[in-house]
């Protein structure tokens, strides 16, 4: 009786934490509620002059140099490394929590073991996150002291909360990891899961705080045109681009975490010496890839939302992003995302070999591959590449003579929706591979699904063509929302139908984990490397669209490095940073590996 009562109490506690996770923060100094409103009224009534200074007008000598280091590159690489590790250590606890909960519900110990192995890998990465974060802060203080002073004057309260939350996150993580085996059993597992939830809540709030600083630099709020802060930190935090970036990063982090864990599993699979080990790491790699794809599918939509909000905030910034020199960057991005989709799909296709039933679907894969490549090529096609007349001259013209029509947004929206549908279809085939339906309406169910896909693809094409070529330019992006809704409808409805068809299904033969070719594991490496490089590229563009401003329109960057670097140069920096990150990740994996090994040192110690 007692354990049941305790379980319920823990459950209530869990729900409470979950509630806290979603309600607005009520932290002193951060709230925009009554107290602040009263303060604001009082401030309007009594104080005319803000106690805050305007953004400084710097000159070149205001930017210190140190031992010949290039300040911008130092901060750039340190910030990028910090972001990669932070994304990893924020994402892993999210799906560790989910996997642990699945294990708890199903009482399948394999899930618990896998979740533990995931969190073990992220533990060392957590320390490295703090180290590179420290390096980034050091770089900012040394090379951009005035920028830091200005930002600190506005965000000092949030920075203090950030430091406190960092301690809280460390405490949660250590208890979560070191208490894993101790907190087992009906009641203790609930306690452990609650700590995991708390860890995620604290980690997410940390990310939101850091996001508010960088989005303030892109879309400042709570300051006047001279950069004078009006004293409401919530306004500065809750700036125009804060939530779009929050959403984009949250989804991307999950996909990224999945891809890195997938690479870990792939390496362990390739190094495995026994069939059992191979089976375990194959299963782990599959789950990690599943998480990565689950994050990858909604990512383009989060990206479109972000770009739409950038346009809504500043059309000039939007055009700089999509129509100027950065437009070429989106061609590189298309290559990267095409690589991600193709590698994720390829991994699924290879996975069909795990079951005897999967062989019957092999013949369809070439069509999926063809559709994916065709959609990728459309996405890859450039169109408008103009920002200024000087750039127009350098580019040699705004449009490609023949491929230009495929470069417009409706064509790209169509392409990305088709890619997502094809990826979902790959997953659907994989899901069905080893199953035999037992319901008597299989044929009707399949027909319904075929009709669903056919209508959806026709609708996506119709919307893309109609809005792309028969409406005014300003309405071209109007197709994206119904297209996205069409895709989401198919995914949801088809999943429901498929689940019903295969309810109480039987297996063709036992699933044979570990029976995949080694080349499939390279698809997982490709996924992780591409994701890392892509995040570096997107980091450059997000920061780059500020151009020669520390804080857009209010605080000008007058350092010698205020110019936008060329894409080639930028991608070389990104490549070097990626190699540095990969080296550190290998170190993390190695530590995870040796932590489980014991050396027989007989004769060394006194008996």
């Amino acid at each position: 009786m007692r354990p049941r009562l305790l379980s319920r109490m823990s459950g209530a506690l869990l729900v409470l934490f979950l509630g806290l996770f979603f309600v607005p923060m009520e932290l002193p100094g951060l709230d925009s509620g009554t107290a602040f409103a009263a303060e604001a009224v009082a401030a309007d009534a009594v104080v005319e002059v803000s106690p805050y200074q305007p953004a400084p007008n710097l000159v070149e000598k205001d930017y210190p140099t140190f031992l010949g280091f290039n300040g911008r590159i130092f901060v750039w690489i340190a910030a990028q490394l910090h972001l990669w590790f932070a994304a990893f250590v924020l994402a892993v606890p999210i799906f560790v929590f989910i996997i642990e909960a699945i294990g708890m519900k199903t009482r399948d110990k394999r899930y618990d073991n896998m979740a533990y192995e995931f969190i073990k890998v992220s533990l060392t990465a957590y320390s490295l996150t703090a180290i590179v974060g420290g390096l980034m802060t050091l770089g900012l203080l040394v090379f951009y002291p005035h920028v830091m002073a200005y930002m600190t004057s506005i965000f000092k309260e949030t920075m203090i909360f950030y430091a406190l939350l960092f301690f809280a996150e460390s405490a949660c993580l250590y208890i979560y990891y070191y208490g894993w085996h101790w907190l087992q059993g009906p009641f203790r597992k609930w306690v452990h899961l609650t700590i995991g939830l708390l860890l995620n809540a604290v980690g997410t709030v940390l990310m939101l705080l850091a996001n508010s600083w960088l989005t303030f630099m892109m879309s400042p709020a709570g300051v006047d045109s001279a950069g004078v802060f009006n004293g409401q930190v919530w306004d500065a935090m809750h700036n125009f681009l804060w939530n779009p970036i929050n959403l984009h990063r949250f989804v991307a982090n999950i996909a990224y975490g999945g891809s890195i864990i997938g690479a870990y599993a792939a390496y362990k699979f390739l190094s495995a010496r026994t069939p059992q080990e191979k089976a375990h790491y194959d299963w782990m790699g599959y789950n990690a890839n599943f998480v990565a794809i689950a994050g990858l599918l909604p990512l383009p939509f989060a990206g479109y939302y972000l770009v739409a909000e950038i346009y809504a905030y500043s059309q000039q910034m939007g055009i700089t992003l999509m129509g100027g020199i950065f437009a070429w960057l989106f061609i590189i991005q298309a290559v990267l995302i095409g690589t991600l989709f193709l590698s994720a799909n390829y991994y699924l296709w290879c996975g069909l070999g795990r079951s005897e039933g999967g062989i019957r679907y092999y013949k369809y894969m070439k069509y999926l591959g063809f559709a994916l490549v065709a959609a990728f090529l459309v996405w890859f096609t450039p169109h408008t590449l103009v920002l200024s007349n000087e750039e127009l001259k350098a580019l040699g013209g705004p449009y490609h003579k023949y491929l230009g029509p495929l470069g417009i947004m409706p064509a790209k929206n169509t392409a990305v929706n088709i890619m997502i549908l094809m990826t979902y279809l790959s997953f659907l085939y994989y899901r069905r591979a080893n199953k035999i339906a037992t319901v008597n309406w299989v044929k009707a169910g399949n027909t319904a699904q075929i009709a669903l896909f056919t209508m959806a693809i026709a609708n996506i094409f119709f919307l893309g063509i109609y809005h792309g070529y028969f409406t005014n330019t300003v309405y071209k992006v109007a197709a994206s929302i119904p297209q996205v809704l069409t895709t989401l409808t198919v995914i949801v409805m088809s999943t429901v139908i498929d689940s019903m068809i295969y309810k109480n299904s039987t297996e063709v033969a036992p699933q044979r984990w570990g029976r995949v070719p080694p080349r499939s594991q390279y698809a997982l490496f490709l996924l992780a490397v591409s994701f890392t490089w892509l995040m570096g590229l997107m980091g450059y563009i997000r920061s780059g669209i500020r151009q020669h401003w520390h804080v857009v329109d209010v605080f000008r960057d007058n350092s010698p490095d205020a110019f936008t670097p060329s894409l080639g140069y930028a991608t070389n920096v990104i490549s070097v940073a990626t190699i540095m990150f990969m080296a550190m990740v290998i170190f993390v994996f190695w530590l995870a590996q040796i932590s489980g090994q014991k050396t027989d040192a007989a004769g060394f110690w006194k008996e």
Partner: protein
């Protein structure tokens, strides 16, 4: 160890592939440097130079053409002059201008005073313009620059230029004016000789052979094309000729009227 090296090699190759594509698979473009504000002596400037300054501001620092172009993001600037009277009388008009000059100025510093139907911010029912105040923020046009843009728009639209060149703007910053302090040339052949066109082209008595023959250029190219070819010579390269040969700074060194006279002359060669 072999497995480890294979994975490392594969990862490095992937990174090298992405970096290689970025360096060699797309055009190698150096982004424009941040705009530099330089002082100019407005008192020594002719109206033609002032109009030319306005054109450069409109195409360059003002970034007006990012949106005011054929792609339909913002109304075409050619529509201002024929529609000003109607807009000022419109019930939607919330500004204080009474004439063309005032209206153009207002549309730059307070764009929401009148929003052309279909070009308002999404959800604002055409009451709020997405255009920023170009006298502030990252565009930051100075008063002389705003006036120069007005002068250019009035001149290019065929209206009387009513603005006066500011005389008390000693501290005013504006883009550097690189046109020489001279009077614009009248004769197109003199203009061609002045800027050395004959060194590369067959024009007048000169017989350069590096660039296309211009003796009958008007038969295949119209005035708009020729104007663009003068100002942006690399925008389109004639078959059989190389890019980056012709100087691309003629827009900075020629008067606007000289560009027009030369383009008109070339278009007449049939």
């Amino acid at each position: 160890m072999k497995q480890f090296l294979a994975v490392i090699g594969f990862s490095l190759l992937t990174i090298a592939g992405f970096a290689g594509f970025s360096n060699y698979g797309i055009p190698r473009i150096e982004p424009a440097p941040p705009p530099v504000q330089e002082k100019i002596d407005l008192s020594a400037m002719t109206m033609d130079q002032f109009i030319s300054l306005g054109e450069r501001v409109l195409n360059g620092k003002g970034t007006c053409k990012l949106c005011h172009n054929e792609l339909g993001r913002a109304p075409l600037l050619e529509q201002i002059i024929p529609n000003t009277e109607k807009r000022l009388a419109d019930a939607k008009y919330k500004g204080e201008a009474h004439d063309l000059e005032g209206y153009i100025l207002e549309s730059m510093v307070n764009p929401s005073a009148y929003v052309v139907a279909g070009f308002g911010k999404s959800g604002s029912n055409d009451t709020v313009s997405p255009m920023p105040d170009v006298s502030g923020g990252s565009i930051g046009l100075t008063e002389p620059e705003l006036l120069a843009v007005i002068a250019y728009l009035q001149d290019s639209g065929g209206a009387e230029v009513t603005v006066e060149i500011p005389t008390d703007a000693g501290d005013a910053a504006a883009e550097e004016v690189t046109a020489e302090e001279r009077e614009p040339l009248e004769d197109p052949l003199e203009i061609a000789a002045e800027f050395g066109c004959g060194a590369c082209h067959i024009i007048g008595e000169d017989e350069g052979d590096i660039g296309p023959d211009l003796t009958k250029i008007g038969a295949t190219r119209d005035r708009d094309y020729l104007r663009r070819a003068i100002l942006y010579p690399n925008a389109e390269i004639a078959e059989g000729f190389e890019a980056d040969i012709m100087p691309d700074d003629l827009g900075d060194t020629m008067f606007a009227v000289e560009v027009e006279r030369l383009a008109e002359y070339l278009a007449s060669l049939k």
